[in-house]
């Protein structure tokens, strides 16, 4: 006990080492003294037999290796810190730590710290690694009662993640080998592909060079771009859900108001005109605010996402009403006349003749409107709908980098660019249809009508015959008065 007390003022490494050895000897000599002295170090208060004892595993932790996060990823270098209290009379000369198969200690460096009370004791050690085990041999036995801390840097946990305990063995001063208790479990997160890519990027010279340019680093940081995509994904999905639910309602409402706009009854037309013009004449942003802040004030509360869908659908319906109205009115009067001359009712004319043609004509415009509405869902971020814009805003705030916005832009473009292309294709096909392109009878087949007209003549006639056919169409695109031309 005296020795313990006398040791305290000496902080020196060598001295401490020597004293530790002395302590070990002392402790080895008198077991009863050990138990009392060790109570200060070991909360479990283990009493040990003369020639035995055990190493009490205190803790095992891993340093988080996530960029700006607190997760420990498997398959990625981290630092394992293992602590145990030596309660073996003869001390220990060797410790082997083991992890499951997929972990690796290869390429790691180990720092050994031995504390006797608050004093650091220097003991030389040699480390050898073999896959998932690491063995540290001490030049001299670590005396009983000291705290042994092993910090293994640059080791890796299994890639697949999970909870792992550090196990292992130790060898006592008398040469006996014993099992170490399993450590508390360490939670390892599975290494995501994203993180793996980020890790890889971190190590690339070109990435460092790229990021050294302030502009590129601020707008197009590769690592952040890679991590942004999964983070923004759920926001993007919400965007898609909002627009895919809202738009069909917009189509239905739009059709209803389109028909109201061309109704015979003046007041029906007036109601539709007010609806369409108010919605088209005010910003969607304002409409969102009115809906989200106004409705709760009159006691109407509903889910943000549902309200968002409703606002987008109503706004879109006003634009679509105008598209459909213009589309219906662009169908030449001759089509109505031909249909009614066959004895069709107004309803039959509309459903079988006018609307099918209208659909073809408005398809490009409606698709453009879809693109607009899809982009407009971003405005819902201002009222807390967790869509793409909201996520990218948050991510940008956290990272202090604009790159997440670029990732959001890419998510928008994934949908809009192909649709823009589709609009172009539809337009081309429509004009080809109306210009009479496409398969035509070959001259070979023309023989069948030689009773009527020479094939050559028929071929020659195409352009002018077509001009005659489309005359009303073309007149319409120029002016509304074109309708009357067909009379």
């Amino acid at each position: 006990m005296q020795e313990l007390a006398s040791r305290k003022p000496h902080p020196g490494g060598l001295v401490a080492g020597a004293l530790a050895l002395a302590l070990a000897l002392v402790l080895g000599g008198c077991g009863s003294a050990t138990s009392s002295s060790s109570t200060g170090l070991d909360s479990s208060g283990i009493t040990t037999a003369a020639d035995a004892g055990e190493v009490v595993v205190k803790s095992a932790t891993a340093r988080p290796n996530e960029d700006g996060g607190s997760s420990v990823f498997g398959g990625q270098e981290t630092r394992l810190t293992w602590e145990g209290t030596v309660n073996v009379d003869s001390g220990i000369t060797e410790v082997t730590l083991a992890l499951p198969d997929d972990a690796t200690f290869d390429g790691s460096t180990t720092r050994v710290t031995v504390l006797d009370g608050l004093k650091r004791v220097n003991i030389d050690s040699t480390t050898s690694t073999s896959g998932n085990t690491i063995t540290i041999k001490f030049a001299e036995a670590i005396p009983s009662g000291s705290l042994l801390r092993l910090e293994v840097t640059n080791m890796k946990f299994p890639t697949k993640g999970g909870s792992y305990s550090v196990t292992g063995t130790y060898v006592t001063g008398t040469g006996e080998k014993a099992e170490l208790d399993a450590s508390p479990k360490i939670k390892i997160t599975e290494l995501t592909t994203t993180q793996a890519i980020v890790n890889w990027l971190d190590g690339q010279a070109w990435v460092s060079a790229w990021n050294s340019v302030p502009f590129l680093n601020m707008f197009f940081k590769p690592q952040l771009l890679v991590t942004s995509f999964p983070s923004l994904f759920s926001g993007w999905i919400l965007c898609l859900i909002i627009i895919l639910v809202a738009f069909p309602f917009g189509i239905l409402l739009g059709l209803v108001f389109a028909f109201m706009r061309i109704s015979k009854h003046r007041w029906v037309r007036a109601i539709a005109a007010i609806y369409v013009n108010l919605l088209r004449g005010t910003p969607l942003f304002l409409q969102i605010y009115i809906a989200f802040f106004g409705l709760p004030m009159v006691g109407i509360n509903m889910d943000n996402n549902i309200l968002g869908i409703i606002v987008v659908a109503i706004n879109s319906s006003a634009y679509q009403a105008e598209i459909y109205r213009a589309g219906i009115q662009s169908i030449p009067k001759g089509q109505y006349e031909a249909a009614t001359s066959l004895g069709m009712t107004y309803r039959q004319t509309m459903t079988s003749i006018i609307l099918p043609q209208t659909v073809r004509r408005v398809l490009p415009t409606v698709t453009s409107d879809f693109i607009t509405s899809y982009k407009d869902t971003s405005l819902l971020s201002s009222v807390g709908v967790m869509e793409l814009m909201m996520f990218s805003k948050n991510l940008t705030t956290v990272s202090g980098n604009i790159t997440p916005y670029i990732a959001a832009a890419i998510y928008y473009l994934i949908i809009t660019l192909p649709l823009i292309k589709v609009v172009g294709i539809i337009e081309k096909r429509l004009s080809a249809d109306e210009n009479g392109e496409g398969p035509r009878p070959k001259d070979d087949d023309m023989e069948t009508e030689d009773e009527f007209e020479a094939p050559a003549a028929d071929e020659k006639a195409k352009p002018s015959a077509f001009q005659a056919l489309t005359a009303p169409f073309r007149a319409h695109t120029l002016s509304d008065g074109g309708v009357e031309d067909a009379i």
């Binding site: 001359s341 079988s352 003749i353 249809d433 109306e434 023989e447 015959a465 077509f466 005659a468």
Partner: protein, 289 residues
């Protein structure tokens, strides 16, 4: 010729007899028959179309001024006249595509002016119309164009309608174009499909509103041949507004000459063409020949 026809057997049946001499002979015989019966129309039965004091004004511009005209069942009436004379407007009044400003129109002794909407729909089933601009439904194939009236209005079954449509397309020589859409057809072919569409409804009266005016001259013959065939063989009453004097002379039972919204002169084609009674008729016939 026969070897060619074998390749496409569907459209083998020619609309017009292959030998033109035979056609002319047949036509003349038919015209003669009709001339005989024409007499009978006028003396006995009621006219199938009776137009009385018909007036039509488009925003202060009078287009028809007291038009009177009777058409008998099975008669082929060709309406001639300079543009703006009101021929088309009169025709369009008959199936109420235009609402008369004043006067009466009776179809089969039934007053149609001022009738209810549902009656108008019913009335139009009895009246086929062929337009100057064809007005085929561009989103449907030729076959579907001819079928749609039958299925939607006459409520025929699809197969029945298809058979009828093919028959009518065959009649106008376009059975092999059944699956083509209108823009893929020439103007003449489109007009023939339009005729098939009207005929497939089996109306009592067929109205032609300048059916060849939008066509290039070389395509006119095919359409006129189809109309000739209908005139000779279908027994339908036809009222044809046209500028085709040859057609009028060959096919018409009666020629009606209109100018300035008034029927100026009418009579047998031979009489009107060779011995026009009125100065205006003479001027008109002189200007176009």
């Amino acid at each position: 010729m026969p070897s060619k026809s074998k390749k496409t057997p569907i459209i083998e049946a020619p609309v017009v007899p292959p030998a033109m001499d035979a056609a002319v002979a047949a036509r003349e015989a038919a015209a003669h028959d009709r001339e005989l019966t024409n007499h009978h129309f006028k003396e006995g039965e009621h006219p199938i179309v009776r137009i009385e004091h018909l007036n039509k004004t488009f925003t202060d511009t009078p287009v028809l001024r007291d038009v009177n005209l009777d058409v008998w069942n099975g008669e082929i009436v060709v309406v001639l006249g300079p543009s703006g004379s009101g021929k088309s407007t009169m025709l369009r009044c008959i199936n109420l595509l235009e609402t008369p400003t004043a006067g009466h129109i009776l179809i089969d002794d039934e007053e149609i002016t001022g009738s209810k909407k549902t009656d108008v729909v019913k009335l139009r089933r009895n009246l086929g119309m062929v337009f100057q601009q064809f007005n085929l439904f561009p989103h449907l194939t030729a076959l579907e164009n001819v079928m749609i009236g039958q299925t939607k209005v006459l409520k025929k079954g699809k197969e029945e309608a298809r058979a009828e449509a093919l028959k009518q397309l065959d009649r106008v020589g376009l059975a092999d174009r059944a699956d083509f859409k209108p823009p893929q057809l020439s103007g003449g072919q489109q007009q023939r499909v339009a005729i098939a569409r009207a005929v497939a409804m089996h109306p009592q009266i067929l109205l032609f509103d300048e059916p060849t005016s939008a066509l290039d001259p070389e395509l006119v013959r095919g359409v006129l041949n189809v109309m000739r065939d209908l005139a000779l063989n279908s027994g339908m009453t036809m009222i044809v507004v046209t500028h085709e004097m040859g057609f009028a002379r060959d096919v018409a039972d009666r020629v009606v000459f209109m100018e300035d919204g008034v029927v100026v002169e009418q009579g047998r084609p031979g009489d009107v063409f060779d011995h026009p009674q009125h100065e205006r008729t003479r001027e008109f016939l002189g200007s176009i020949s």
